[in-house]
């Protein structure tokens, strides 16, 4: 846990240097100042010094979210529009062991560089180092500010999964929305300013679990996310493999069911049941081993017939047989080509039909839009001759209602879906027939080669020998083809087997038990306490038992989301309660919450008196007793409320003047210059860090017209500075 002990903003204007500082103490405290005093500027300075400006939707190093007073022009009393030449913010953080760091970051100039003045409890020497807060500064272990900050806080680094599939980490900018509630957007939802600019998955949940110290749960969550990403990748591989299997088998004229439908585990279970060869045998009666055996036997017999079997000189059937085989194959090919032509014609027609359906869907949709727009709607009209209404039905024409047109569009879309299925089926049939034609062509070529050889031979003996030789050659070629298919199928089968084993491995990655339920219960109990203390209108002592947090840490009361319950101001009460409960739970559980809660203008969300009373009661009771973490409330209170809180022992810092930035007097300026000169000559010095146990609101050291002007403003709803 750390404590924020000082927020300082200073700079140089055309009229001279200016400065403002807020000194903070432990526990709860209220900074009370009127509108435009610079409360939000101070709160934003903390975000800036944490290097977390990205939560405001700006790029790294962009100080555009700060008011003009420290970027362009500043007003000092009656002197308005004074040019700001330079400015910077700094915060002083104190660790529970007494060590401290002052983080200083320029608002104008090199905004990516942060100066750290570090002082250890053991070594009072101040060590000054400059770090960078560029994008991914967490990965830069030597010069990265985020990396340094986690190291100094003693926070463990976490590896998170991202949308891109590359690993990332948790940054301070992801934790900040859990303890800094911005005046404008922060009250709209729990962690309203949470961002995931590095694409971290489920970053809101991870931020809470980290704050609760549930590192095992974060690890398990990341493993589950990676597992989901791996599953998606495996599913893609399965789809590609299924497509290859279908294409390969279709090219041989075989059709089997080898789909990638369903979950990865379902597909793996299905594919593991039978191999490709078994499926081919079962569905298509294709047994490649049997065919190999048959061909080997045939080759053996033909070799024997060619070399040692007797030849009958009176046998004249060789030529007729070879010729007959060629004729039969040609007939088969003719029939297949004829079917293929029909299929191609059907395919083209189906394509045309789909094109026509697309056009008709578009026309009907446009007609529906035209009717809805009311443009071109014709008024009732009377025939000048017969004085009857000019009814379209008289002309045998019909007018459809919008509902009828939409129904027609729905029917056309269904037709289109059917036609697309039909088109897919036709494409599959064409592929199969084409491969059959190709296979038949090979057989026909063999047969024609045999016929040519036999025809060229002279005499019955030579004819028979030529016939046997040609048959042998054809059988050997077929055997080669079968061997090739077996190799291709074996290759695919090995890929499928590897895929199945990858799926099996997946099962063990994302299982495990953590103590998250216990931690969630601690957060829930703390939340229940704060909701009652802050007076959420939907939560009572009788129903608080039904309060629960779901897997995303969304609070539910019974079966209803709490964000949907209560009045508009209850939403801000829920946000405040959640932020405070998280800090308290983190203290109890030894989690990694910074130990600071900054609430900017909570009263702006509760402008009516009963709700103000509820807040003050809560501040006086539960929160004041809590000393485990620091709470800073930026708001404006009338004197009566200040007195009430002080009576209850709550420190209230009251602002002097109209703005906390003041022009320094020439004497103070000289003193500051001397001090800075000495510091710049000797960067590593024994300077003692400024800190104090009691909160103090400093207004520079010099006189300023702005500082001396008594405020005449009446209390009103505060606005952003």
């Amino acid at each position: 846990m750390i404590r924020l002990t000082s927020i300082k903003v200073r700079g140089v204007s055309a009229k001279g240097p200016f400065e403002g500082e807020i000194t903070l103490g432990p526990g709860i405290q209220v900074l009370s100042a009127k509108n435009a005093y610079g409360k939000s500027l101070a709160a934003k300075a903390v975000v800036w010094c944490f290097g977390a400006e990205a939560i405001f939707g700006v790029p790294s190093g962009d100080a555009g979210f700060f008011p003009d007073a420290i970027r362009e022009e500043i007003d000092f009393g009656d002197e308005r529009g004074i040019q700001v030449l330079s400015s910077e913010c700094s915060i002083l953080l104190e660790r529970s062991d007494g060590s401290s760091i002052r983080v200083t970051r320029p608002v104008i100039g090199k905004t990516g560089l942060l100066t750290i003045e570090e002082q250890s409890i053991l070594d009072p020497t101040i060590r000054k180092t400059i770090y960078q807060n560029t994008k991914r500064s967490m990965q830069d272990d030597t010069g990265g500010f985020q990396s340094f900050l986690f190291d100094w806080m003693g926070w463990p680094r976490t590896t998170l999964a991202t949308f891109k599939g590359t690993p990332s980490e948790l940054y301070v900018e992801n934790l900040l929305p859990t303890f800094y509630i911005d005046q404008k957007e922060g009250w709209t939802n729990i962690q309203a300013l949470q961002i995931a600019r590095y694409g971290q998955l489920q970053i809101s949940e991870v931020a809470i679990e980290y704050a609760l110290g549930a590192l095992d749960q974060v690890k398990l969550r990341v493993a589950q996310q990676e597992s989901a990403q791996r599953r998606a990748a495996l599913k893609q591989i399965a789809e590609a493999t299924a497509a290859r299997v279908t294409a390969l088998l279709a090219a041989r004229g075989w059709t089997i069911e080898w789909s990638s439908f369903g979950s990865v585990k379902d597909v793996a279970a299905r594919w593991a049941l039978k191999g490709l060869r078994e499926e081919l045998k079962a569905r298509q009666n294709v047994d490649l081993d049997k065919r190999t055996k048959e061909l080997n036997e045939k080759i053996g017999k033909l070799r024997k017939a060619l070399t040692s079997d007797p030849i009958d000189p009176a046998n004249v059937s060789a030529l007729a047989g070879a010729s007959q085989r060629a004729i039969e194959l040609k007939n088969q090919r003719h029939q297949l080509n004829s079917e293929l032509n029909t299929l191609r014609l059907q395919y083209t027609q189906a394509q045309n039909l789909i094109g026509s359906l697309e056009q008709r869907i578009q026309s009907a949709s446009d007609l529906a839009r035209l009717k809805e727009s009311g443009v071109g709607r014709l008024d009732e009209m009377e025939c000048p001759t017969c004085h009857r209404d000019l009814d379209p039905e008289t002309f045998a024409l019909s007018v459809q209602t919008g509902a009828e047109v939409h129904a027609h569009v729905a029917a056309l879309k269904r037709d289109r879906a059917l036609m697309k299925n039909n088109l897919d089926a036709l494409a599959s049939s064409i592929r199969t027939r084409t491969s059959e034609v190709s296979s038949l062509d090979e057989k026909l070529r063999d047969s024609q080669r045999t016929l040519t050889t036999v025809t060229d031979a002279i005499g019955t003996v030579r004819e028979q020998l030529a016939n046997r030789a040609a048959e042998l050659s054809a059988a050997e070629r077929e055997l080669d083809r079968v061997d090739e298919w077996k190799r291709e199928l074996a290759q695919l089968q090995s890929e499928i087997d590897k895929w199945i084993s990858d799926v099996k491995l997946l099962g063990d990655l994302d299982s495990g038990h953590t103590d998250i339920e216990k931690r969630r219960a601690t957060l829930r109990d703390a939340l229940a306490k704060y909701l009652i203390e802050l007076g959420h209108s939907s939560v009572t002592e009788s129903n608080v038992g039904t309060l629960r947090l779901d897997e995303q840490y969304t609070p539910f009361l019974g079966s209803r989301r709490m964000l949907a319950l209560g009045s508009a101001s209850d939403q801000s009460r829920l946000v405040a309660a959640f932020s405070l409960a998280l800090a308290e739970a983190s203290v109890q559980l030894g989690g990694f919450h910074p130990g600071i809660v900054l609430l900017d203008e909570p009263l702006q969300q509760n402008p009516d008196n009963p709700h103000r009373d509820l807040l003050f009661t809560a501040l006086s009771n539960q929160l004041s007793r809590n000393t485990g973490f620091q709470t800073v409330i930026f708001t404006w209170l009338p004197d009566s409320d200040v007195a009430r809180l002080r009576t209850a022992g709550i420190p209230v810092l009251e602002a002097e003047g109209s703005h906390f930035l003041r022009l320094l007097s020439p004497a103070a300026n000289r003193s500051l210059e001397q001090k800075e000169g000495a510091a710049s000559e000797e960067p590593v010095s024994g300077e003692t860090p400024e800190s104090g146990d009691s909160p103090e609101l400093e207004a520079g050291h010099g006189e300023s017209s702005a500082a001396e002007e008594p405020s005449q403003e009446e209390p009103e709803a505060p606005e952003s500075a």
Partner: protein, 177 residues
């Protein structure tokens, strides 16, 4: 012949048993092609794009030409057919082969004749011999055209009408002597 080979008998057996007919109401929704608003919109777009100036204050189009063009606008996939017909018109035999079915289709479009009669009755169009001219209420045509362009309605119909500009359609092709 058993039931499996006779579809009617199979259907009768199914209906007499536990099978219940399912009626999809959207199946009875008439096509947009028969809707008056659609037909008037397409006829108006055709007139607006293809009518030619007749004097200073009026535009007109041959009634047969309007009939063919609006027919094609609703069926953009036929435009290549009419194009090949137009290109082959010098070859009488080829011309006859490629034109007959198309000619029969558009000449039999009675619905268009009714739409034109209705538009004349509404004063949107008026007859001038074999031509159709703008009527007293012809602002309807301009309204529909502007709306279609502004809201990108009937894009395929407009594209078809536009492509017809580059195709020379003769009176002979329109079926006129």
């Amino acid at each position: 012949m058993d039931a499996s080979q006779n579809p009617l008998r199979l259907l009768a057996e199914l209906l007499s048993g536990r099978a219940k007919p399912v009626i999809n109401p959207e199946r009875f929704a008439p096509s947009a092609t028969y809707d008056l608003a659609y037909r008037m919109a397409i006829t108006s777009l055709t007139f607006r794009i293809h009518a030619k100036a007749n004097g200073e204050n009026s535009t007109r189009i041959a009634a047969d030409r309007l009939k063919l063009y609006q027919f094609l606008a609703q069926r953009p996939w036929l435009v290549p057919t009419i194009k090949s017909w137009a290109e082959s018109r010098k070859d009488a035999q080829l011309s006859m082969l490629s034109s007959d079915r198309l000619r029969r289709g558009y000449l039999g479009d009675v619905n268009h004749d009714n739409v034109v009669s209705y538009m004349i009755a509404r004063g949107i169009l008026k007859w001038n011999g074999n031509f159709l001219e703008e009527g007293n209420n012809s602002q309807y045509i301009e309204i529909i055209y502007s709306e279609a362009i502004e809201r990108k309605l009937f894009a395929s119909e407009l594209a078809a009408l536009d492509s017809l500009r580059s195709i020379r359609i003769t009176n002979e092709m329109l079926g006129e002597p």
